[in-house]
Amino acid sequence: MRALVLLWSLGPLFLQLFSSLVTPETLVDPGKIAGGGHWTLANYRALLGASPSFGRYLLNSAVVGSGTTALTLLLAVPCAYGLQRQRGAMRWSVMAALLGAALFPTVLLFLALLGLARRFDLGNDLLALSLPYAGLSLPLAVLLLRTAIADLPPELEEAAQLEGLDFGERVRHVLLPLLSPALASTAILVFLFSWNEYPIALTWISRADRLTLPTAISRIAGSSVYAVPYGAFAAATVLGSLPLLLLVLLFQRSIVSGLTQGAIKG
């Protein structure tokens, strides 16, 4: 059963890896692989040697992802703290609004956000793209962090207060260290969202050297410069997946615990 599940989950990924590493002739007739000599790195060379290089897209996505994650945490931590200190109706109404926003399919916002980009001339600006991304990530981030803050023992802050720590010191030496696991898992989920987001990047970014990974991928999909382009497709999917693969493998615990502990308790 486990083997079956793994085959189902990972099979398509291995197919991509295989397709990216063979010549087009072998790809359409894998029987040839027995003859040997049909492996190639040509697909990767073509992608990385293209102008702009595929590495550029990875870098762009990393820039947007880091900007988004930083901005989201900067806004979400104080908000979650303030929210937890609210009482009764105020807290519940804000939380209900956040839950509604977290459920909302963000693709429906693309047109109005494009209007925003036009009005303030934010198109083709990677850091400006972090602004809507952070806004769209905030509902989940605030909900996750508020749960984490609610789980902290309330005596802790009183004790720190009695020790004579002022508000800034309490945040720095008490709150943030205790929240670090929740901060890590929230950061990863926000980064994943930003790395994978497609419709808004598609409408905000038009310059070839500013494309993020998903938009670059779809452009490769739409181009017909390759005779049998699936080798190049596959190489693009492998290169685009590798950073995330590393991230997920490194932070597997944070991701699983972040999703499993925070999302529900609300």
Binding site: S9, G82, Q86, L111, A112, L131, A134, L138, S218
Partner: protein, 292 residues
């Protein structure tokens, strides 16, 4: 400073940004849906007295897409909940390498949808793709998975199920972990079999998690965009086009922003209806539950 004020101020920046990306767009689009704004008007907005909405009501393509989007969402969400429950039960079973199994099964969810949609396009390729190679071994095919208007939507569902089931499983796994072990053991002592335990203990306690997964997946599936845009482009013959894709095409290809906004708002209304209906049905099916 009064005690509540500081906390309120702490929330302000985040709430302002939230208003900017959620509330303002909805308001702006509600307004734009009442305007003519296309290449014909030089992209300036001119009030056209509800003409967009009248056009929407009579737009066969909109209603066809609405039906297709709903069909996609219902079938994929039901499959994802069922398979996700099975996967969650499997991932909960103790055993060697459980942490690795959890991580590896989660991978499809973590990767960009556009990336894997491209991968599935090759898997479905006619006649060279791996699926057709498999059919060839069985002596059938090749089959045009993405070129047959009657069935291609099923293969968009399959790709979505592959990608999103792990996420549902993870949410449900959280629910499973919240069930006290003693409860299970005491049922076991009373001689309840595996099926009975699932029905009388696990499923009832999992209900809040199942509802959250259902709500979240339903709203996201009704907004499906990335997958169909890259996998099929809405084709063949528009048979996989979703509402979000239609809204996108209206703005970016037909350059009709006013009507695109109307399609977005129409989709939003249908989304609210679908969610309310789902909640209503869900509540109806739980006659014994008391309100919290």
């Amino acid at each position: 400073m009064s005690p509540g004020l500081l906390e309120g101020l702490l929330m302000l920046p985040a709430l302002l940004l939230l208003a900017l990306v959620f509330l303002w767009p909805l308001g702006a689009m509600a307004w734009l849906s009442g305007q003519a704004s296309s290449v014909l008007t030089g992209l300036t907005a001119l009030p056209n007295g509800g003409a967009n909405w009248l056009r929407l009501l009579g737009d066969g393509r909109f209603w066809q897409d609405a039906g297709q989007t709903l069909r996609f969402a219902l079938v994929s969400v039901v499959l994802e909940l069922l398979l996700g429950l099975g996967l969650a039960l499997l991932l909960q079973r103790p055993g060697r390498g459980r942490a690795w199994l959890r991580t590896l099964t989660l991978l499809p969810w973590a990767l960009p949808t556009t990336v894997m949609a491209l991968g599935w396009r090759w898997i479905y390729n006619d006649p060279f793709g791996p699926l057709n190679a498999l059919l060839g071994l069985l002596g059938i095919g090749p089959y045009g998975f993405l070129s047959n208007p009657a069935t291609s939507w099923l293969f968009t569902v399959l790709a979505d199920v592959w990608k999103t089931t792990p996420f549902v499983a993870l949410l449900l796994l959280a629910g499973l972990q919240s069930i006290p072990l003693e409860l299970r053991e005491s049922l076991e002592l009373e001689g309840a079999g595996r099926w009975q335990r699932l029905r009388h203990l696990t499923l009832p306690l999992l209900l809040p998690y199942l509802s959250l997964a259902l709500l979240f997946r339903l709203t996201q599936a009704l907004g499906v965009f990335d997958l169909v845009q890259v996998l099929t482009g809405g084709g063949p013959a528009g048979s996989t086009e979703s509402l979000a894709l239609y809204a996108y095409l209206n703005a970016m290809r037909f350059l009709d922003f006013g009507y695109s906004a109307t399609v977005v708002m129409g989709t939003f209304v249908l989304l609210l209806l679908a969610v309310s209906l789902a909640l209503l049905l869900w509540r109806r099916s739980q006659p014994h539950r008391r309100p919290a």
